[in-house]
C-alpha cells in the first residue's frame, strides 16, 4: 500500500495572531511553525500501517523552502520520503489541485490528511482532492482499518458516530481518534539523524488557478471587561443572563 500524507505547515497553536501590511498578510514575526495538529494524527496512523502492514509512506506539502523544516519533522517521525511542491499556497482549490496531480502521478492508494488545518480551518483540501481524482472520501474519520483494498472506517457525526465500508483508492480527512493523542509520535534523536538522509524531492508547481483570493484579515472585536458577580449573589447572575444578555 502506498500512502501519501498531506502535511500543512501552520503556526503553533499557542501563537499570537497578528497581521501586517495594512492587515493584508499574516505576521510571521516570532511565530513558530509546526506540523498541523490534525495532520499529526493521520501521520501517526500512517506509521502504524507502515509497521504492521508494510505500507510505504510519503509526506507532501505545498509551500516555499521555509516549510522544509516541517517536512523533515515528518521524516523524523518515520515517513520514508518527502515531496515539497514548490508554490505559495494560495487557496484550498489550488493546493488540492497541486496535491491531486502528484497523487495521481505517484499512484497512491491512500491519501491521508487532517480534516482541517489549524490556520484556515476550511476543511476543503481533502474533499477537493477526492473529488478531483474521483476517489472515495471519508471526512472526520476517527478510526480506520485496511484489509486488501477493503476499508472499514468510522466518522464522527453530530452526537455520535457512523460506521462505513469503502475501498481504496481513498482520501481520508482525519482527526483525533484515528490514533489517540497519547499515541502521537514525537521525533527522537535517531529519527532526526535518519531524517537528514531521507529523500526530500522538490517538484515544480503545476500552476493551477486559484478560485479565491485573500483580501484582508481582521481580528475579533475587542471584548468588554468581564462582569463579576459575587458567589453569594447568584440571583444577580440569573438577572443579567435574562435581562441584559437575554440568553435565558
Amino acid at each position: 500500500m502506498k500512502i501519501l500524507v498531506c502535511i500543512s505547515h501552520v503556526p503553533d497553536t499557542t501563537s499570537k495572531i497578528n497581521f501586517t501590511d495594512n492587515d493584508t498578510n499574516f505576521d510571521t514575526n516570532g511565530v513558530q511553525f509546526v506540523i498541523n495538529p490534525y495532520d499529526e494524527f493521520v501521520l501517526t496512523r500512517a506509521m502504524w500501517f507502515k509497521e504492521k502492514q508494510g505500507a510505504a509512506v510519503t509526506v507532501v506539502n505545498v509551500g516555499s523552502a521555509s516549510t522544509e523544516s516541517t517536512l523533515r519533522k515528518a521524516l523524523a517521525i518515520g515517513a520514508d520520503n518527502a515531496i515539497r511542491i514548490n508554490a505559495e499556497p494560495k487557496d484550498g482549490m489550488s493546493v488540492a489541485k497541486e496535491i491531486a496531480a502528484v497523487a495521481k502521478e505517484g499512484g497512491y492508494d491512500l491519501i491521508l490528511a487532517g480534516k482541517e488545518s489549524s490556520d484556515y480551518n476550511g476543511q476543503m483540501v481533502p474533499g477537493m482532492i477526492a473529488a478531483l481524482l474521483g476517489y472515495n472520501f471519508v471526512n472526520g474519520c476517527v478510526q480506520m482499518d485496511v484489509d486488501g483494498t477493503r476499508v472499514s472506517a468510522t466518522r464522527e457525526i453530530d452526537g455520535g458516530s457512523e460506521s462505513l465500508q469503502t475501498s481504496l483508492p481513498l482520501v481520508v480527512g482525519g482527526q483525533k481518534g484515528i490514533v489517540e493523542e497519547s499515541d502521537l509520535r514525537i521525533p527522537n534523536m535517531r529519527g532526526i539523524m535518519m531524517a537528514r538522509k531521507k529523500p526530500l524531492t522538490v517538484l515544480e508547481s503545476s500552476h493551477p488557478n486559484n478560485a479565491t483570493n485573500s483580501v484582508s484579515f481582521e481580528k475579533p472585536a475587542p471584548k468588554g471587561a468581564v462582569k463579576l458577580v459575587a458567589a453569594e449573589n447568584i440571583d444577580e447572575l440569573i438577572n443579567l443572563l435574562h435581562n441584559e444578555a437575554k440568553v435565558i
Binding site: G122, M128, A131, L132, E162, L164, K227, A245, V247, I248
Partner: protein
C-alpha cells in the same frame, strides 16, 4: 440565474441552521437581484422554508438518499444547481455540510469559502468574511470564479423571517451506487448535541473527578443544554472524547457557554470563542478565562453550581 441553498433535515425535520441558511440565501439573492431556490432532500413539511424567503422549493424524495452520503448528496446539489443555473450555492457548516461542501465546489468548478460569518460585504467583487486561525481572526475572501459555494457558520447570520409564497417542485435526481456505504449509526437518543444546543455547560479539571459530574448534568438539564468538557478531562477519561470542546475538539458556537472549573487555555478559548455569551465559574480569579468571559463568578464550583441549579429552577418555574 438563482441562488441555491441546501436546507438539510434530519428524520424529515429541518434544523434551525436550515432556516439560517435560507435567511442568508435570501439576503444574497436580494443583493444579486435574483431568485432564491431552497433544495430539500427527504424533508416532510417543505413549505416551512417560505417563511424565510425561499421563492422556489425543490423537493427531492428518494429512499436511496434516506441516509446522508456526502458524494450522493453533493451530486444531487450539483444536478439541481445546474438545472436552475445557480450561481451561488449556500450550505451550512455542520459536520455533514463541511463534508459535502468541497465536493460541490469541485463539481461546479466553484470557488468555496467555508465558515462564513456574515453577508457578502460586496457582490462585485464577491467578498465574504470567514473564520480563520481557529477563531483568533477573520479572513475577507474574494471568490473569483463564476460559480460560488458558501459554507455558512452556525449562529452567525441569524434567522430572519421573510414570508413569501413559494412554489414547490419535485425533482427526480439520479443516484448512483455509493462508494462509501454506511453500515451503522451509533447515536445517543434524546440527548441535546453540542452542535444543536443553544446552551452548552462545560466543566474542567476543577471538578476534581468524574464522580462530580452529576451537578453539571443537572445544570444542563435545567437549561436544556448539552454537556461538554475541557481537553484534560477527556484525556483523563473522566468524560467521553465526543464531549471535548476546544481547538482540537468540537467547536462551540452557541448562545450561552458556561465554563465550570476550566482555566481557559488559549486552545480551549479558540474552540469556544464563537459563542455569544460566556460565563465562567472558577475559584482562581487569575484564570485566563475571566479575560475571555462576559460574566464571571469567582467561587467554588461545589458551592456555586448547586445554588445556580436551585435558583434557575425557581426562575424557570416563574417564567414558564
Amino acid at each position: 440565474m438563482s441562488v441555491l441553498v441546501y436546507a438539510s433535515s434530519s428524520d424529515g425535520k429541518f434544523k434551525k441552521s436550515s432556516f439560517e441558511v435560507v435567511s442568508y440565501g435570501k439576503k444574497v439573492a436580494e443583493e444579486l437581484g435574483i431568485k432564491l431556490i431552497a433544495l430539500t432532500i427527504n424533508a416532510n413539511d417543505v413549505t416551512e422554508l417560505q417563511n424565510y424567503g425561499a421563492d422556489t422549493i425543490v423537493s427531492v424524495n428518494n429512499t436511496a438518499l434516506n441516509e446522508f452520503n456526502a458524494k450522493e448528496y453533493a451530486s444531487v446539489i450539483q444536478q439541481v444547481a445546474e438545472s436552475k443555473a445557480s450561481k451561488v450555492v449556500v450550505i451550512d457548516s455542520s459536520i455533514d455540510g463541511l463534508y459535502v461542501g468541497p465536493l460541490v465546489s469541485v463539481a461546479l468548478n466553484a470557488g468555496y469559502a467555508s465558515n462564513v460569518v456574515d453577508a457578502p460585504s460586496s457582490t462585485s467583487p464577491f467578498v465574504v468574511k470567514r473564520k480563520a486561525f481557529s477563531n483568533k481572526g477573520f479572513n475577507n475572501t474574494e471568490i473569483t470564479t463564476e460559480n460560488k459555494v458558501i459554507g455558512l457558520a452556525k449562529n452567525s447570520y441569524g434567522i430572519h423571517e421573510n414570508l413569501v409564497a413559494a412554489s414547490v417542485e419535485n425533482f427526480e435526481a439520479s443516484v448512483s451506487e455509493p462508494g462509501v456505504k454506511s453500515t451503522s449509526i451509533d447515536k445517543a437518543i434524546g440527548k441535546v448535541t453540542i452542535a444543536d444546543a443553544d446552551v452548552v455547560v462545560s466543566a474542567g479539571r476543577g471538578l476534581k473527578g468524574p464522580e462530580n459530574w452529576g451537578m453539571v448534568e443537572e445544570l444542563a438539564d435545567v437549561l436544556g443544554a448539552a454537556t461538554a468538557c475541557s481537553k484534560p478531562v477527556s484525556d483523563l477519561g473522566w468524560r467521553p472524547h465526543g464531549e471535548h470542546v476546544g481547538q482540537t475538539g468540537k467547536p462551540v458556537a452557541t448562545n450561552l457557554y458556561i465554563a465550570i472549573g476550566i482555566s481557559g487555555a488559549i486552545q480551549h478559548l479558540a474552540g469556544i470563542n464563537a459563542s455569544k455569551v460566556k460565563v465562567v465559574i472558577n475559584t482562581d480569579p487569575e484564570a485566563p478565562f475571566f479575560k475571555a468571559a462576559d460574566y464571571g463568578v469567582v467561587g467554588d464550583a461545589f458551592d456555586v453550581v448547586p445554588q445556580l441549579i436551585s435558583k434557575l429552577k425557581d426562575f424557570k418555574a416563574q417564567n414558564s
